[in-house]
Each structure stands twice: as structure tokens, then as C-alpha cells.
């Protein structure tokens, strides 16, 4: 559990611009979010569906209470949580896929594509892969996708988090979407048939 002992100095170091602290924070928050969601599911509000947006906002309230005023600001924290959510979702999708493979089912891919949830799983993984390519080219575009797709943030929150105007976020989002779309199209293109013989 990311108790105050672990969290507060990490936040401070992150605020001071320590890159390593950022990675550690992601790790600590990962477990915190999970614990928070568990409480949520077991608690009184289990009847309503928990959205990413709700979880991220709730996490902000709880964690800022525990760490005091160390956060650089609500928006930056949201961006951080979006990154954590990305880890959470990608892990989940991988695990699901691995579980199915391990279960000895044949034609897993087809089954998954037939079922709506399976489609969601595949999309998470392919968006994540495409995002890795996009990160190498334009880090800001990638951040925007992370905040929106994985973190459930609104355009105004993204603008605040990245320190740009809402208009910029709107414009960048269109470009990011186009790149993701293109990358996903190449990603899922059928592989050329294996051929025999020497070069």
C-alpha cells in the first residue's frame, strides 16, 4: 500500500523533476488504484458501474488527502493517473488473453473478435502498441491519447495537465486519432504467407 511514508517523498521528488521518481510513482499508484477499486466493488456502491473518470477523480481526492499539498496540481496528477490506468488496462488485457491461450482454446483470436468484450481487449493492446510508436515521434500526441483513452479525462483537463490551450488539445487529438487509425490498420494487416526456398 502506498502509505504516506512511500508516497509523499516520491511526490516531492517528482515535483522536483526527478524522472526516476515518476516511474516509481506509477508503480506505487498502480497498487493504490487497485486497492481503491476493490473497496469500491465490495462496498456499498457496488451497484453502479465504475468508470475510469470516476475512479481517477476519486483517487485524486483520497491521495491528495494523504499526501498533503505536495502535488503539483490536480491536472498533473490526472495525467499521472492516466498513465497508471494505461498500465492497469494493458495488464488486464494481456492477462485475459494469456488466460485464454493457456486454457487450450483454439482460435482464440476469432472468438475474441466475435465477442464485444474481446474486441475491447484487443483494442487496448493494439492502441497501446500504436501508442508506443507514436511516443517515439511526438510525445505530446501520445500524452493526449493516454489521458483521453486510458485516463477518461475531458479536453479541458488534458489542456490543463499539459499546459496547452483546449484548442490545441482539440487539434492535436484529430492528428493523434488519424495516426492511431493508420498505425492500427498496418498493425492488423494480414501477414504475408510464408514462402519456401532460398533467397
Amino acid at each position: 500500500m502506498g502509505d504516506q511514508d512511500t508516497l509523499a517523498p516520491l511526490v516531492q521528488r517528482w515535483t522536483d523533476g526527478d524522472r526516476g521518481a515518476f516511474d516509481e510513482l506509477v508503480g506505487v499508484l498502480y497498487d493504490d488504484l487497485r486497492a481503491m477499486a476493490h473497496r469500491h466493488l465490495l462496498g456499498e456502491r457496488a451497484n453502479h458501474t465504475l468508470t475510469t473518470t470516476a475512479l481517477v477523480h476519486e483517487a485524486y481526492v483520497e491521495l491528495s488527502r494523504r499526501t498533503g499539498p505536495a502535488w503539483r496540481g490536480r491536472a498533473q496528477f490526472f495525467a499521472l493517473l492516466s498513465k497508471v490506468m494505461r498500465h492497469v488496462l494493458v495488464d488486464y488485457a494481456r492477462q485475459k488473453k494469456a488466460a485464454k491461450r493457456g486454457g487450450g482454446e483454439l482460435h482464440v483470436e476469432i472468438d475474441e473478435q466475435a465477442a464485444g468484450a474481446g474486441n475491447g481487449l484487443l483494442e487496448i493492446l493494439s492502441v497501446n502498441r500504436a501508442l508506443e510508436h507514436l511516443e517515439a515521434r511526438d510525445a505530446r500526441l501520445a500524452r493526449i491519447v493516454e489521458c483521453r483513452f486510458f485516463g477518461g479525462l475531458q479536453e479541458s483537463e488534458i489542456a490543463e495537465a499539459l499546459g496547452v490551450s483546449t484548442r490545441t488539445v482539440e487539434r492535436d487529438w484529430r492528428r493523434a486519432r488519424a495516426y492511431l487509425h493508420t498505425l492500427l490498420a498496418t498493425d492488423q494487416a494480414p501477414a504475408p504467407d510464408e514462402e519456401h526456398g532460398a533467397q
Binding site: D31, A37, H38, L55, L89, G102, L121, A178, E195
Partner: protein, 899 residues
């Protein structure tokens, strides 16, 4: 974005135009890009395709199509879990590193109960596991009753690393002591047990880095168990060395971190000494030595630079809860204060020094003082302020020093006078003195006899020839077996002298038993902490290090330094020599960062000017080596030049020491790119070594090898070839045909021959090198694979695909056992197998090899030539199979190494 992925500039051009086009009304876009692209059809196509993608993707990527509650529900429902072969029983706790579970593993009729630590997300799994593979053998060898074993490691299904450790039932040491109201003495005994365990781990080259009460449990039987030994290093992304080591702060709670960890400096065994001091402080006083309150960046910086060390006696008896803390130690605040002031304040203060060189030199030395305190004997540490002031006083007033020396002399006489309290005793002592004088005479005779043949003696007297000296020594050793049985002291002196000369001649296997015998005699004659014993320990450590017995060598070096530091009065030259030798050993085991503080302590210490010149020069050369390895080339050059200047002015430019200093400087200059200057210095050094040590001495051969590597890298192939031909031939004559260093020379020689396009000669040498390695090295030593890989390369070039495949497969087999998966060398082997398969018309079989190899090499920065060769082959392979996408992805990676 069709066809090949464009390079960065191209991509930016596309992106700019795409962005601008989006600003236009949809109907105007086609015309706009037509005119802006100025006939660049590819650009027009790329941007048009992106514009279509933008239209098609409206409303997409808004959120994942699965509700987040499903995600967490799935993880909550996962009742009984298994992780690898382990079944999770229950959660034991959570901490900075992750979650610890109690888990079982079913074996043949037994159940192994373990603690299983699943690391947090955010730690790079591959990195952690790679470090685990490298450290595994060391950690597995850490078998000590007070240290919890590390059994196993792996990755969970979702890719998080986990470590499997001995499950220990116990209570954290501070809680254990407090709940039982243990008195100070019992607490010290427990701390002693902790220090002994830490010291044993240090002997196995493992540093804990995160010693704190929660990592030290006391079992129901009342014994301590240290958890997580070596784990911090596995989790530290900076632990692999390199210039940008960021060690320490990673996941450490600041109130337990040492100043060097807070400053982001390298972690050493002295870090553990500091943390032992902090533990001792806490056990004695009930509070940590420094307020954990200030966790801000400024607070931490202040903490890192602190110079004052709080006194346990003061802290223990102050504060509102002083009464409670004293009661938990079965005493009152006033009594506790009296108990701690004096020696315990001094011991804790020395361990907690902010500057590592000012601390106890080892955990063992700290344990020694705790033991002395418990036994009621005088401790070795002195109150820091006094000695510091005295030193400063002497430095400022050099003319006072002789008088102070005289005072020490008087003190010595005073002690002797006390001892000589009876006439009988005095008579005995006189006899002993007589004997010692006689022994000295014998020794002087022997040493004089051999000194003329000792290659390390100053240049003007050094004209010895190795073979004859060894023969003479052999005769002398034989004689000693039967003579002087009744004069153990004289025998020990002669044994030491002969051993020393053997050692300097590089005949270490004969030097060792003589030195060991001398050590045993000295121990029984003079006591285990005597000067004679300390000197023998130092020599023995060097001998065993030369013979490759690294762990015992290090233990001996550390022991000798600890004894030298604890001796009063301190002999600065002895301490410096001990530091230099320990540091050299650390360099030999690739622990340059641990070594550096020792050399700095010698060179920057208050006694630097008065040290023997050989010690001084050696410390400089070693420091230059460290600086070079750590890529601080300018500093290394400066230091090496200082060493050369000092040797030339004192011992002489044409001495062996002068040659070594030049070799050191040349190594650095070669890396800076000043090849001519480096070449000249190497040649000068080789000439000098031939005259002083003889043409066949290992140091000379190694210097020739270094010169050859310099020439090879500079493209001066002919010069490199001649040198390596000679080193290989001479090496074979001296070491015999089956010595790994001969294989190294052959391997280097062959590499030059390949570059000179003489493949047949190269092949013959690679084959010999491979055969020698097969005979002499452990099966999982990755060096064995190197000549095999080279042979595979030759075979591929000569279109002998079957033989290439066999050699590369043998190499891969070795590398898989020796290195973590995904290592660049392993990828080279995979690539060569793939190329052989392609040549044998087995394209489909080649594909997985290419895929694995490209996956590891795409992001690699090491071995650039091999990386290029491999990726180019992969590109050709995929192109030939019509897989343009993959081919161009790899081609793009080729253009941007390490991206």
C-alpha cells in the same frame, strides 16, 4: 503512411502539412496539399491518406470498450492464486517494493513454505530479471545462518517480477528488543550478530544497501535473520554500473539511507557500515539518528551534507519520552546516558560518519569494537574530534611533528618498562631480542641475495633473469624443508622473502604455500594482530587474487586493512598500502566505484606526502584506471600524467614502474583518440619491461596485447598482427598451450587476420582458442562462445552453411546458459544460425531466429558492427519474402541505432 516508415525529417514534413491541411475546410484540402507539396507525389499520398484516416476515425479511441469495474472485479475474484510453481497462502504485507505473500510449493512428499515477493508495477521486469540472472549465483552462494536465503525468481503471468525467499517467522529487531525490555548489553549482542552476518555477506561481495529494523527479524529462538540481502541491487536500475549510476534512493526510506545514497553516489560496503551504525543508534536510543521529518528536497540535501553526528547518550536521555525509552532498556535516563557516553558514543559516531572513508573500514571492524566494548577491552576508534584536531594541528605546524613523535616514543618506553617487572622476564626478553637480531641478519642476507633479481627493484639494479632466479628459489625452498626447524622466526622470515620474489616473478602457485606457512608461524609467534601477520595477510591476499580466488582474496584484503586501521599508533604507509591493494582487487572484480574512495583516501589523506613513492604512484595509476573505466577520460589522463611525472622524478623512467605508468596513460590516450602518442608510450613501456622483467613476463605480453588492440581499433592492422603473433607464440611457450590467456591472444590475433583477409590462418587460431576454452573454462562461461561465433562468421563467408550452423548453435547453447535472454551477443548467435539456415534453403526455420535476434538488437547500442550485419541480413530476408512492412521497420531501426 504507406510503404516504408519515413525518417524523422520526412515525418515532420508530412506532419506539418497534415496539420495545416486540417485547418482548411474539407473541400479545399486536396487543392491545398497539391500546391503546398510542389509535385512531391509521395508527400501528397501520405497526407491524403492521413486525412482519410482522420475522417474514418471520428468518434474512435474515446475510451476502452470494457468497463473498468470488470478489470478490478476480475482481479478481486482471483481467490486462490498461483504464481509460477507456488500456491499463494496469504498476504504477509506490503512495502515499498511490492507485496509479499506466504506461499507453498509442493515437492516430493514435502511442502516448501516460502515468502514470495511480487514487485511493483513500474519496475522494469526484464531489467530486474536480467540482474537476477547475473547475481543469482552470488546470491545463492550467500549461505549464512543469519541471512534469509534467496531461492528463486521469475515473472508472473502479467509480467511482474517476483522473488522467492526463505520464509522467516520473527519480529523486527527494534520491536523485539522493546517488547522484552532488553538491556543495552543484550541489544549490543544482537547488533553484533547482525554485523557478523553483514560482514559474511560482504566477503561474498554482496552489499545489502537497505538495512533497517523491518529487514532484520529476531526468531523465537532469539537469533537474528537478515531479509532482502542483495535485493536492493536487483531492483536498482543504476546497479549495472556505467557513468550514470543512480544508486541508493530507489525505494529507500530516507531516514535509513546513507549520505552517499542521498547524494546519489555509488553504494559500497561502507554504506552498510553506515546503516549498521544507524541501527545501533536506534537500538540504543529508541530513535533514528536523524529526524525523518524533513522530506522535502532541501531537507534531504541538508541531510546528505550533514557533518555533525548526534551522540546516542544525549539523544537517549532527552525528549519527553526519555523515561519510557529508558524503561524499555530496563534502566533510567540518567543511567542510560552514563552507559552510552564514551565508547558507545564513539563507536556509533565512527560508523555514522558522513564521508565513507572516515567510517569503520568494514562491518567486521565495527563488530570488533562492539565485541571489545562487551569484553571491557579498549576500542579501536577514537573520538573523532580529538584526532581530527590533532591532525590539523600537526599539518599547520609541521615543525611540531618530531616532538609529537618523540612523545609517542616515550609512551612506548613507558609501556615496555612496565612489562619488564622481573629479572627473569628481562633475561628472557634479552634472549628474544638477540634471536630477532640474528633473524634479521639471515633475512637481510637472503633478501640481498634475491633483491638483485627482483624485477620490482629500482631500475639501476634490476637485471635479473626469471628462469635462473626461479631455480635458485626452488633450491632454497627445498633446503628450508629440512633446516631451521628449531628457529621458527628465522624460517618464517625466509619463507616470506622467497614467497615475495616468487610472487613478483608471477609464480603464484609456489608463492602461496610459503606465505601461508609464514602466516601460521607469525600468528603463533607474534599474535593474530601483529605487524608480521598483517603483512602476510596482504601478500597472501594479492597472491590468491592473482590466482583467481577472488572471494577469499577480498576477505584477506579487508581483514588486513581493518587490522592496520585498528593498530595504534597508526602507520599511514601501511594503511595506504592496504587500501591500494584492496582497491586494486575491487577493480579486478569490476567494482570500480567501490575502489575509488580507497584511492582518494590515500591520495587526499593528510599523510599523502609522507607515503612511500611506490604506494603513491600505484594509487594514482589505479585511480586513473577507475576514471577511465567510468568514462571520465580527461580526469584519467591528468591522473596518469601525474603518475608518470612522479615515477620519473623518483624511481626513474626506465623502471618497471615507469613502464606501468606509461601503459596506464597510453590506455587512456588511446580512448581519447590520440593514437600516435599512445602507440609511442606503449612501445616505450614494452621495451622497458623486456629489460626489467624479461621478454616473457605476463605484464609485458599484456602490454603488447593492449598496444595491438589500440592498433586494431585504429586500423593499423599490420602492426597489430605482428604484435599478436608474438604474444600468442611467447604466451604459448611460457604458459603452455592450454592457458586461457593464450586463447585470448589467439582470438585477438585471428580477428586481425580476418580483417587482413587471411581467413585460413584465422580459422586455425579460432579453432585452437575454442579448444583451449573448452578445456579450461566452465561450461557456462560465455567467453567460450566467442571463437565459435567467429568461426560461424568465417564459414558463412566461405559458404559453408552447415558448418556455420553447427558452430553458431554450439555458441547459442553456451550463451543461453551463461547470459540473460535478449543479450546482444546471444542475438548475434541467433542471427548467424538464421543466415546459415537461409543459405541452406530453410527460410521458414530461419524466421524465428531472425525475429528473436531483431527483437533484441533493435534497441541495442552495443556491438554496432554485429548489429548492423544482423539487421541487414534480416531486412534482406523479409524483403525476399515480400514482407515489406517488417523489412522497412527493421531498416528504420538500422538507421537509428538504439532508438
Amino acid at each position: 503512411m504507406t510503404g516504408e516508415p519515413p525518417d524523422r525529417a520526412r515525418w515532420q514534413a508530412i506532419d506539418r502539412l497534415f496539420e495545416a491541411a486540417l485547418e482548411r475546410a474539407p473541400a479545399d484540402r486536396a487543392t491545398f496539399i497539391e500546391s503546398a507539396a510542389a509535385g512531391d507525389q509521395d508527400l501528397i499520398d501520405a497526407v491524403s491518406s492521413l486525412l482519410r484516416a482522420e475522417q474514418d476515425s471520428q468518434g474512435r479511441f474515446e475510451s476502452p470498450a470494457i468497463p473498468v469495474s470488470d478489470v478490478f472485479a476480475a482481479q478481486a475474484a482471483g481467490g486462490s492464486r498461483t504464481i509460477g510453481p507456488y500456491r499463494v497462502v496469504r498476504e504477509l504485507g506490503r512495502g515499498g517494493m511490492g507485496t509479499v505473500y506466504l506461499a507453498d510449493r509442493e515437492g516430493d512428499g514435502f511442502t516448501q513454505r516460502v515468502a514470495l515477493k511480487v514487485l511493483r508495477r513500474g519496475m522494469d521486469t526484464e531489467d530486474v530479471l536480467r540482474r537476477f540472472v547475473t547475481e543469482r549465483r552470488i546470491l545463492a552462494s550467500l549461505s549464512h545462518p543469519n541471512i534469509a536465503r534467496l531461492y528463486d525468481g521469475g515473472a508472473t503471468d502479467d509480467g511482474r517480477p517476483y522473488l522467492v525467499m526463505e520464509f522467516v517467522e520473527g519480529e523486527p529487531i527494534s520491536a523485539y528488543c522493546d517488547s522484552r525490555h532488553l538491556p543495552v548489553r543484550r541489544r549490543l549482542e544482537l547488533a553484533l550478530e547482525v554485523a557478523a552476518a553483514v560482514s559474511a555477506a560482504h566477503a561474498s561481495l554482496v552489499v545489502h544497501r537497505d538495512l533497517k529494523p523491518s529487514n532484520i527479524l529476531v526468531t523465537a529462538e532469539g537469533h537474528v535473520k537478515l531479509l532482502d540481502f542483495g535485493i536492493a541491487k536487483l531492483l536498482d536500475p543504476g546497479a549495472d554500473g556505467g557513468t550514470h549510476t543512480r544508486t541508493g534512493l530507489f525505494l529507500l526510506t530516507p531516514d535509513h539511507a546513507s549520505p552517499e545514497q542521498l547524494r546519489g553516489e555509488p553504494v559500497t560496503t561502507l554504506t552498510d557500515v553506515y546503516q549498521l551504525g544507524a541501527l545501533l543508534f536506534e537500538l540504543l536510543t529508541g530513535t533514528a539518528p536523524y529526524e525523518p521529518g524533513s522530506r522535502t528536497a532541501e531537507g534531504l540535501k541538508a541531510l546528505a551534507g550533514r557533518l555533525d553526528v548526534p551522540r546516542p547518550s544525549v539523544v537517549a536521555s532527552a525528549g519527553p519520552d526519555a523515561e519510557t525509552r529508558a524503561r524499555r532498556r530496563g534502566t533510567t535516563p540518567a543511567q542510560l546516558r552514563r552507559m552510552l557516553s564514551g565508547d558507545l558514543d564513539t563507536i556509533v559516531g565512527k560508523a555514522l560518519q558522513a564521508e565513507p572513508p572516515r567510517r569503520y573500514v568494514s562491518a567486521e571492524a565495527l563488530a570488533g569494537d562492539i565485541q571489545r566494548f562487551l569484553d571491557g577491552r579498549p576500542i579501536s576508534a577514537h573520538p573523532d574530534t580529538v584526532s581530527y584536531r590533532a591532525r590539523m594541528f600537526l599539518r599547520r605546524r609541521p615543525w611540531v611533528a618530531p616532538a609529537a613523535g618523540a612523545a609517542a616514543l616515550f609512551a612506548g618506553i613507558y609501556v615496555t618498562t612496565l612489562v619488564r617487572h622481573s629479572a627473569a622476564l628481562e633475561a628472557e626478553r634479552n634472549a628474544a631480542t638477540l634471536q630477532a637480531e640474528r633473524a634479521q641478519e639471515v633475512q637481510r642476507f637472503l633478501v640481498d641475495l634475491f633483491a638483485s633479481a627482483d624485477p620490482y627493484a629500482p631500475a639501476d639494479t634490476a637485471r635479473g633473469r626469471g628462469i635462473t632466479v626461479v631455480e635458485a628459489l626452488d633450491i632454497g625452498t627445498g633446503r628450508l624443508k629440512t633446516s631451521l626447524a628449531d628457529r621458527p622466526d628465522i624460517r618464517a622470515s625466509i619463507l616470506s622473502a622467497i614467497s615475495q620474489v616468487y610472487q613478483h616473478l608471477g609464480v603464484h602457485d609456489r608463492a602461496q604455500p610459503l606465505r601461508e606457512e609464514a602466516l601460521a608461524v607469525h600468528t603463533s609467534l607474534h599474535g593474530p594482530e601483529s605487524r608480521e601477520v598483517r603483512d602476510s595477510l596482504g601478500s597472501l591476499a594479492t597472491i590468491r587474487g592473482e590466482r583467481g580466488e577472488l572471494v577469499p582474496a577480498r576477505e584477506l584484503h579487508v581483514r588486513r586493512l581493518a587490522l592496520a586501521e585498528a593498530t595504534r599508533p597508526v602507520d599511514a604507509a601501511e594503511v595506504a598500502d592496504a587500501r591500494v591493494r584492496l582497491g586494486r582487487h575491487l577493480i579486478a572484480t569490476s567494482q570500480e566505484q567501490l575502489a575509488e574512495p580507497h584511492f582518494r583516501a590515500v591520495l587526499d589523506g593528510p599523510d599523502a606526502e609522507s607515503l612511500p613513492v611506490t604506494t603513491h604512484v600505484e594509487a594514482m595509476r589505479a585511480l586513473a584506471d577507475v576514471e577511465r573505466v567510468l568514462d571520465r577520460l580527461d580526469e584519467s589522463e591528468r591522473t596518469a600524467r601525474r603518475a608518470v611525472a612522479l615515477v620519473d622524478a623518483s624511481i626513474g623512467a626506465s623502471s618497471a614502474a615507469g613502464a606501468f605508468a606509461r601503459g596506464t596513460l597510453a590506455q587512456t590516450l588511446g580512448l581519447i583518440g590520440r593514437v600516435d602518442e599512445a602507440d609511442g608510450l606503449f612501445q616505450q613501456a614494452i621495451g622497458t619491461l623486456e629489460r626489467t622483467l624479461g621478454a616473457t613476463h605476463g605484464h609485458r605480453l599484456m602490454t603488447m596485447n593492449n598496444l595491438a588492440v589500440l592498433r586494431l581499433n585504429a586500423g593499423r592492422l599490420e602492426g597489430a598482427e605482428a604484435l599478436l603473433r608474438e604474444t600468442a607464440e611467447v604466451g604459448e611457450r611460457v604458459h603452455g598451450p592450454n592457458h586461457p590467456s593464450v586463447a585470448g591472444f589467439l582470438q585477438n590475433h585471428a580477428t586481425v587476420l580476418v580483417r587482413l583477409n587471411r581467413p585460413d590462418e584465422a580459422r586455425e587460431r579460432y579453432e585452437r582458442a575454442a579448444a583451449i576454452y573448452r578445456e579450461t573454462l566452465e561450461p557456462d562461461n560465455y567467453t567460450r562462445a566467442l571463437p565459435l561465433l567467429s568461426l560461424a562468421g568465417l564459414d558463412l563467408a566461405a559458404q559453408r552453411a552447415a558448418s556455420a550452423e553447427a558452430a553458431a548453435r554450439e555458441a547459442l547453447h553456451i550463451l543461453r546458459a551463461a547470459l540473460p535472454s535478449g543479450h546482444a551477443i546471444t542475438a548475434v548467435a541467433e542471427c548467424r544460425i538464421a543466415r546459415a539456415l537461409v543459405a541452406r534453403a530453410q527460410g521458414p526455420a530461419a524466421r524465428p531466429f531472425f525475429e528473436r535476434a531483431t527483437a533484441s538488437l533493435t534497441s541495442a547500442t552495443s556491438l554496432p558492427e554485429y548489429r548492423r550485419e544482423c539487421l541487414e541480413a534480416a531486412v534482406a530476408f523479409h524483403r525476399a519474402r515480400g514482407d515489406a512492412t517488417t523489412a522497412s521497420r527493421i531498416a528504420a531501426a538500422l538507421g537509428t541505432p538504439g532508438s
